[in-house]
């Protein structure tokens, strides 16, 4: 009797880790290439982009909101950064065609590190606007961030009529391709961000505010917590990470491209939700999101190794997300019943 109880509880508490381990075993048996050092590094690096977005998304979903604009902010940050490097903050140049020359003459508006800080500030500002409008006018963030998504994407494309803008300095390429102790920079940035965010959520007053506002806003207000911070800060954080990803992606492509990251908000949401964070708010963790990100990254990776067609991959991804959610629901019900 006691043995059975332990197993069930164990299973429901650690279901996420067990799913990950299970997927690793299945992937290894499906393709020996999966566990090679090269592939694991690949997997982690490709996962770090949606991983960073997912960290920001965790904060937002914990307060019961959602941020659909992150993909557009990534694209906008990319072209804004490139535009800064070419000498203007704000530009409409649909008719000019950029002819490539070997050595790019950059006339940056700000120099390093001011230009990176500026772009990240703009991303955070967009997030701030998302949060404030949603809070002050009591409109659900789904609508606000959806509108922002469309607006920001349009703004980004208007910069160069959708054309990529070449010319990235070395320090940005280092952010995407450089290595520190043999580990690629995007992975390091992701892990460090996850650790800091996790500590923030678990051990600071700010973290408690986030959980409180997400769990029960009235109770939080009556406890004297600052609701404004609890409702607006997550969007600032989400915008911050989106802008950061935009800059790293610019390094990855060696150009600013306003059209990248379309649909990435959904990948981020999937990672957060698979990781156990409730869409109603108040429940979840960065660790969960990390595992969720790994599960999604692993899936994409093994499907690529198996040379599955792009369309079949989409179908499988969708199925796994649905299955994950259903399973989590069943396990939670078991937990409550027990």
């Amino acid at each position: 009797m006691r043995e059975k109880f332990n197993f069930k509880k164990f299973f429901s508490n650690y279901s996420l880790y067990l799913i990950l381990v299970f997927l690793i075993i299945v992937s290894t048996s499906l393709s020996p290439l999966f566990i090679s050092y090269k592939n694991i590094v690949n997997l982690l690096m490709q996962g770090s982009f949606s991983g960073l977005l997912a960290i920001g998304m965790t904060f937002v979903i914990l307060t019961g909101g959602i941020d659909l604009s992150v993909g557009s902010i990534v694209g906008f940050s990319s072209i804004l950064f490139a535009s800064l490097l070419h000498g203007s903050i704000f530009t409409f140049m649909p008719k000019t065609i950029f002819i490539y020359v070997d050595l790019v003459e950059l006339s940056p508006v700000f120099h390093f590190p001011l230009n990176i800080l500026f772009v990240v500030f703009v991303g955070s500002l967009i997030g701030f606007i998302n949060g404030v409008i949603s809070y002050k006018f009591r409109i659900h963030s789904f609508i606000i961030t959806l509108a922002m998504m469309i607006f920001i994407r349009g703004l980004a494309i208007s910069y160069t009529d959708g054309q990529p803008l070449f010319g990235m300095p070395e320090y940005v390429e280092f952010l995407a391709y450089g290595e520190f102790l043999k580990v690629p920079m995007p992975i390091i940035i992701w892990v460090v961000s996850a650790i800091i965010s996790s500590l923030l959520l678990k051990f600071t007053l700010f973290g408690r505010q986030i959980y409180a506002v997400g769990g029960n806003e009235e109770a939080a207000r009556l406890s004297g917590l600052n609701i404004f911070i609890g409702r607006v800060a997550p969007f600032i954080i989400s915008g911050f990470f989106a802008a950061l990803v935009g800059i790293i992606m610019s390094g990855r492509m060696s150009c600013g491209d306003p059209k990248i990251a379309e649909g990435w908000e959904l990948n981020a949401i999937a990672a957060v939700v698979i990781g156990g964070t409730s869409l109603f708010g108040g429940k979840g963790s960065i660790t969960g999101t990390l595992i969720g990100t790994l599960i999604v990254a692993l899936l994409i990776n093994i499907m690529n190794l198996l040379e599955m067609s792009a369309y079949h991959q989409e179908m499988t991804k969708g199925l796994i997300i649905i299955l994950s959610l259903v399973m989590q629901n069943i396990l939670r019900k078991n937990e409550i019943d027990n």
């Binding site: 332990n6 164990f10 508490n13 650690y14 880790y17 381990v21 690793i24 075993i25 290894t28 020996p32 290439l33 999966f34 566990i35 090679s36 090269k38 592939n39 690949n42 690096m45 490709q46 982009f49 065609i97 490539y100 494309i157 009529d161 959708g162 054309q163 990529p164 070449f166 390429e173 995407a176 391709y177 992606m249 390094g251 990855r252 492509m253 060696s254 150009c255 491209d257 059209k259 990248i260 990251a261 379309e262 990776n301 690529n304 190794l305 040379e307 067609s309 792009a310």
Partner: protein
């Protein structure tokens, strides 16, 4: 209890990690493995390239892995990185944007993997490029429009594939550069530019939008590829606007059929995906097998204007594309 469970989980993961790094060997295969990072597979042109690549590789006794980037540059970079993991020895690359793949091409060079670029022009360190001159294709159409289609001037609706794409940039702006020449100044007006992702359905939709917006003002719908032009033709015929001319590029056989009919569809430019791909794959395999360097770095396959005068030379009802 919880502490014990944590220990159990940790040891389980450690055992797993050890298992992972101890086992695992890559199966040896004598066949030459090459990769093809394709930009998309959403129209007959790209599908013809896929088929040609598979057939040519098979004929040469090589294995080929083809990945579809779904017009997403970030996915394409990931695709190429996955191809590296799979151990390809050479890469055929049809890049989504001109600059986006530059860093990953540098990576390929460091790994000693030669790249043959195909179809979409790009910048970077490649062995050879096989494709048409996109700008020249646009110019040829521009010259034909000025000379024969609208010699007295007119209004043009421009439908491009997608703004960042080098083919659209070349074909669209090449054509416009002829219109902007001093002798043609003031005669031609571009009413609007739409983007239809080289897709026939979207080409039709965008033309319908143009018809709603401009109605009788339209004299010519110029599309950056035949798929979109065929869609535009369908929309114009629906709206009973049979005087409006249509021009495309690529040399799709359905386009030839329309030109043969001598109706609204006026001209196209030859761009044979099958020939292009065959040349590229053979070039790559030659280089990998015998170190044979390509004669020229940029191999421009025939950029030839096709109109009702010479369409019979090119039309082949049995061709794939």
């Amino acid at each position: 209890m919880k502490f014990e469970k944590k220990i159990f989980l940790m040891s389980l993961m450690t055992v797993l990690l050890v298992f992972m790094f101890v086992t695992g060997s890559i199966a040896a295969n004598d066949k030459l493995l090459i990769g093809f990072s394709h930009v998309a597979m959403n129209c007959p042109y790209y599908l013809a390239m896929e088929k040609a690549a598979k057939d040519t590789a098979e004929a040469r006794g090589a294995d080929i892995i083809i990945f579809n980037a779904e017009v997403d540059i970030a996915k394409q970079i990931s695709d190429i990185e996955t191809l590296f993991v799979k151990g390809i020895k050479g890469l055929i690359l049809n890049s989504t944007t001109e600059y986006g793949t530059m860093p990953v091409m540098k990576k390929a060079k460091n790994l000693g993997i030669p790249i043959v670029a195909i179809d979409r022009p790009l910048y970077g360190d490649y062995l050879a490029y096989v494709g048409i001159d996109q700008w020249r294709a646009g110019e040829l159409q521009g010259e034909y429009i000025v000379k024969s289609v609208l010699p007295d001037g007119g209004n043009i609706v421009l439908i491009i594939g997608d703004p960042g794409c080098p083919a659209s940039i070349g074909r669209g702006n090449g054509m416009k550069s002829i219109l902007e020449k001093p002798e043609n100044a003031g005669k031609y007006k571009i009413l609007a530019t739409y983007k239809a992702e080289y897709n026939m359905m979207l080409g039709m939709e965008k033309t319908e939008e143009a018809i709603t917006a401009f109605g009788d003002q339209i004299n010519l719908v110029y599309c950056c590829n035949d798929s979109m032009a065929l869609g535009a033709l369908a929309a114009l015929q629906e709206a009973k606007m049979t005087n409006v001319a249509v021009c495309g590029i690529d040399g799709q056989k359905e386009a030839y059929e329309e030109i043969l009919k001598g109706g609204q569809y006026k001209s196209t430019v030859v761009n044979n995906p099958t020939v292009e791909t065959e040349i590229a794959v053979n070039l790559l395999i030659d280089f990998l097998q015998s170190g044979k360097e390509p004669e020229e770095k940029d191999i421009i396959t025939g950029t030839i204007l096709v109109t009702s005068d010479n369409v019979k030379e090119f039309y082949n009802p049995n061709s794939v594309f």
